[in-house]
Symmetry: C2
Subunit: 653 residues, 2 copies
């Protein structure tokens, strides 16, 4: 763990608002945290010079306005480049802060979901630690004239009598070396066994080694994402994580979304290519994980992997063609354990690859793994599990029952279909507020670089802020009565200029159009309508939800207030929202160390009822009703409705 960074007290004047912020953070970040708007349109890169504040007490590091270095007296600083080095009191000047007509420069504080950490000790304490691949050290009696059973039978007998392991099958490659290894080890050997999860199932001997190698048993957990492959290396002897790694999915050069990968796979030799790229991406992760540990490649005994249905198909070289064609049929959703050699993974031939089962074409193994990783399947609370991306996957239920569905949200949450949309990378606008009178923006980018575009979580915040400030109405249309120069008629209709060309990293204006907002509305409507429809199918309403579990990258950046303001997420208390991070990887990790959990997976998959929303009467009506901010039915969003009251009343003032 990194050492805890020092925290300093920042006091903002004239409001007097005070908060603790970590050393090294910028003043603009501190203001944003405090819910204070400061004009800033260069993303925090120090270029636009709009975010000047006055440091009245204490010192900051940097932040001297450009061209003003020598005359910078009176503590004038650029909030974006002034970094905390002690307690400070900062005054927001009039030009950056306006109090007029009951409106303040106060903006909502960001609420991120609490992060749900996973601990191996939970599994141990629950008595669930039971690796799918176990090593056993056997000190065998050497053969004698009165006891000359075969080498194989000697091992099988010992396992039965000393370890209560039954129905042992010795595979051919192990049989081929058993004689030599037994004698090399003077009949003291370590056998590696893939344990069945079925009552009466078979236990397969994967390997035999001379001597005692109990402590050298390493497993991998891998989340094969469309964009990124995440992996952890587990020590099955101690249960500890030895290393973590992530690499891009090399398929990405053939398209960012799953559909373009399917199209690629349909070309001649395309499927083989996609398979090779998936494997080579995983192999890079494996290589990195091993480099960061003292484990050797030939000590890897298993890999537990989850991915969406398309990624799983491509990894296994299964034809994904019908996944993208109505009625959206995958080749298979259950996958037997596979030997590493059959996939050409950089692991010993005998190592076992266990794949998370999928539910349907668009509710994949990653979601099942997420349900496992989040513990949702064990709770009494009525829970909503949601992974938002191009496809939003929704699971609702508790320990008794589970229903799921996929909604095609479109690429808006990943920056697609938005005029200046982009992935969450350096230069992407990640935070935003708008001055309620001047309509000047406060823009913070990832990496504090000049803005390049808008990422999904930024888009959510922008739309929410525009709506809350009354700049955009509940239909997603701009208030055309506003006379600010940032509003204009563009090629795609009315638009709001977030960043002028002179301050952007692209050299062009960065703006948001009504068409962009409509695309955003489609995306959020698909998700919310999915949740509401699923709930209604089981006779419940959003008010019954006791827990919301966010998974996936988007979930980690999701501002909860914004999400509830726009009607993406149902309105629940922020403390009822959990973020499980990479739930898929967590699920792999859990079932990678526990056959009990592998059994649970089978039970959970059997228990989940999948709904094709297109087949559910009423989904379309729900979708249309959700195409508003936050929804046509404001009773679903009572808190938002209350908060919006003065704003919605503003035009009449």
């Amino acid at each position: 763990m990194a050492e805890k960074t020092a925290e300093f007290t920042v006091t903002f004047l004239p409001s007097g608002r005070r908060l603790e912020v970590e050393e090294g953070e910028s003043l603009i970040f501190a203001a944003r945290q405090a819910g204070i708007h400061i004009n800033a349109s260069c993303g925090g890169s120090g270029v636009c010079g709009k975010c000047r504040v006055v440091v009245e007490e204490g010192e900051v590091s940097g932040g001297l306005p450009q061209g003003l270095e020598e005359v910078a007296t009176g503590g004038v600083r650029q909030a974006c480049t002034a970094l905390l080095s002690g307690d400070v009191t900062v005054r927001i000047p009039e030009e950056s802060m306006v109090r007029k007509g009951g409106l303040t420069s106060e903006i909502p504080v960001r609420n991120r979901a609490a992060i749900h950490y996973y601990d191996i000790e939970d599994v141990r304490e629950a008595g669930l630690y039971w690796p799918p691949v176990e090593k056993f050290y056997l000190e065998l009696e050497p053969p004698a004239a009165a006891d000359n059973i075969s080498d194989g039978a000697r091992i099988v007998r010992h396992l039965r009598e000393h370890y209560d392991v039954h129905r042992v099958v010795i595979s051919l490659p192990v049989m081929r070396k058993i004689r030599r290894v037994l004698r090399e080890g003077a009949f003291k050997v370590t056998v590696t066994i893939a344990k069945t999860i079925r009552e009466g199932g078979k236990n397969y001997v994967l390997n035999i080694q001379a001597g005692n190698w109990l402590q050298r048993n390493f497993a991998l957990a891998v989340d094969l994402g469309t964009t990124t492959v995440y992996g952890v290396l587990l020590d099955l002897y101690t249960g500890k994580v030895l290393s973590r790694s992530a690499e891009y999915n090399q398929q990405i050069s053939y398209g960012e979304d799953v559909i373009s990968r399917i199209i690629q796979a349909e070309k001649p030799k395309g499927l083989e290519l996609m398979q090779e790229l998936a494997v080579s991406s995983i192999n890079k992760v494996i290589d990195d994980l091993l480099r960061k540990s003292d484990a050797e490649p030939d000590e890897l005994t298993s890999l537990t992997l989850a991915g969406n249905t398309i990624m799983t198909h491509l990894l296994l070289e299964l034809e994904p063609h019908n996944i993208r064609r109505s009625p959206y049929v995958p080749v298979n959703t259950f996958f037997p354990p596979i030997r590493a050699r059959d996939l050409k993974l950089d692991m010993p031939d005998h190592a076992v690859v266990m794949l998370y089962p999928a539910i349907s074409s668009y509710v994949g193994g990653d979601i099942v793994a997420g349900v496992m990783g989040s513990g949702m399947y064990l709770t009494d609370k009525l829970s909503l599990f949601i992974d938002i991306g191009t496809n939003g996957e929704i699971v609702i239920g508790n320990r008794e029952w589970l229903v799921c569905s996929a909604c095609s949200a479109g690429p808006a949450f990943e920056g697609g279909g938005i005029s200046h949309g982009m992935r969450a990378a350096v230069g992407a606008i990640r935070d935003f507020s708008i001055h309620p009178v001047t309509c000047e923006p406060m823009i913070i980018t990832i990496g504090n670089k000049p803005p390049l575009g808008i990422c999904g979580s930024g888009l959510l915040i922008i739309v929410a802020a525009l709506f809350e400030s009354g700049v955009v109405d509940h239909r997603g249309k701009f208030d055309r009565s506003l006379g600010c120069p940032r509003f204009r008629e563009g090629r795609d209709g009315y638009e709001y200029v977030l960043v002028w060309d002179s301050e952007s990293g692209t050299g062009s204006d960065i703006f948001l159009t009504e068409v962009d907002i409509e695309n955003f509305l489609r995306a959020k409507a698909a998700i919310f309508a999915g949740v509401k429809t699923l709930l209604e199918e089981v006779g419940l309403t959003v008010n019954d939800l006791e827990q919301v579990i966010l998974a996936g990258t988007f979930g980690s950046f999701l501002d909860l207030d914004s999400a509830m303001t726009v009607g993406l997420l149902p309105e629940v208390e922020p403390e009822k929202v959990l973020y499980v991070g990479n739930g898929s990887l967590m699920g792999c990790w859990m079932s990678g160390v526990s056959n009990h959990i592998r059994r649970h997976v089978v039970e959970v998959v059997r228990r989940i009822t999948n709904f094709e929303l297109s087949e559910v009467a009423g989904f379309k009506d729900q979708y249309v009703a959700s195409m508003f901010l936050p929804h046509t039915d404001l009773s679903l969003f009572p808190a938002a409705a209350e908060r919006l009251q003065p704003v919605s009343g503003r035009p009449e003032e």
Copy 2:
């Protein structure tokens, strides 16, 4: 089936003995069948001219004595080259037949064991027909929006609902083509399934084909012998045998016996070589079987194979090293089903190879298959199953219990360790009698060619005849008082010349020495002592035996009277002796068409108790007691004792 050959009546004078013999057989063969001795030392090749007889009535084809062609009147013929073409009356002249001192030229009639034929209808009638690999034709509902489960799940559901097949696993190679094949066949497909024999076990989908291929499901049964590979091609749809084939085991060029194969396998790359030769021998059989039928290679779905433990090890490339070293430990005796691709057999990659389990290093899968093929495990009768070769394998028991053991008989029964021993090939002496006064032999060879040596079954008959005629005593020593010129002191002690150099096919004398007889005694003593010891271990005696089952090539040529006269087999009524032919192949055939029988195999193997004779107190005493003709304890051979009475009294006359 071949047409039945015509039979003619042959009457021998002066005895008046009469019998029916098939058209085309020789007169000397007819005489032998009738139990009449005719001097003949050239093996029936027409060279020695000693076997002259007079045809008094009727005609024969050929048989005119050499050099006498034009003056051959009065019906003088050489019995060995005179072939039956009608009813005849034949007089044996004085020179070939002597009646004196109560002795006659009458010799024992040959008794071969009754052949036990196996019929697929037996399996059907017993309700046991249930191929391990079944094809199912599925007419599936195509996917629809309201029923868009995966292709794999659709197949699994149909099998469960329409065929009561559960726990279906679709392997990766099948998954890879399932989508295409389903659509090519408009969702009418044939799936090939390897059915489990275990309650709750898994059923593996091996293949999927578009359309209905129910009637194209072919299986192989193969006996992988040390010398010969036998195979049959089975139509699993009809249960019928389509073709049969046999090829030499190509390993034979590295030694005829299993030990030399092991030694070869211990050399660098030797094991791989032995494996390749085994596979290539089987592939030759497969090729021939297919050529003789209309089945295509890709329609083969399974192969059931049995071999002795060494052959099985070499086929699977398992190190056989410790099989030949005390305490004689094989690598394994149970073998999981293997895919054909893992052995490089000329079958589809997905075809399943099922191997008969072995009991121990020297009681192999061929013996287990023989026990299955003979039906011994189903009978109430106390049965002795015996396969005699270099190693004699013995199984005793019935439906309730089974015990087994291997006895190292040495190579005598295969012609090894005998001065003029040879394999049962053309020119090998296969039948013999001796004139009780002149000590002139009657010699018949395989193929009626000039004698080259003595094969195992011939050796048995020779020793029995020499003993019965009093030429050899119960210790296996020649009566040195006989003045015949055929007896002489040789390099290895006293010997009997069977064939003079002028009449042999080798240009040298062919003789039998007392050392040869001692080697024979060791071999037969090992077998008999094994039988007796095993019986005593379970508290029984040879008199309790109700059935004797002979298996293996030697069994088919074994003269039962000779075998009981010398004390190789326990004395039972000839009608209680069955010959099951290639019991190993029969067992493969049976379990190749019936999972019920595969289940029985597992039960039988669990039920068999193996005895290492070297570990059983008393075996050595039994062995020493069996080193006599027929045995030190004559009460074990009451019939032989009675028959031998006048002979054993002869020297005193």
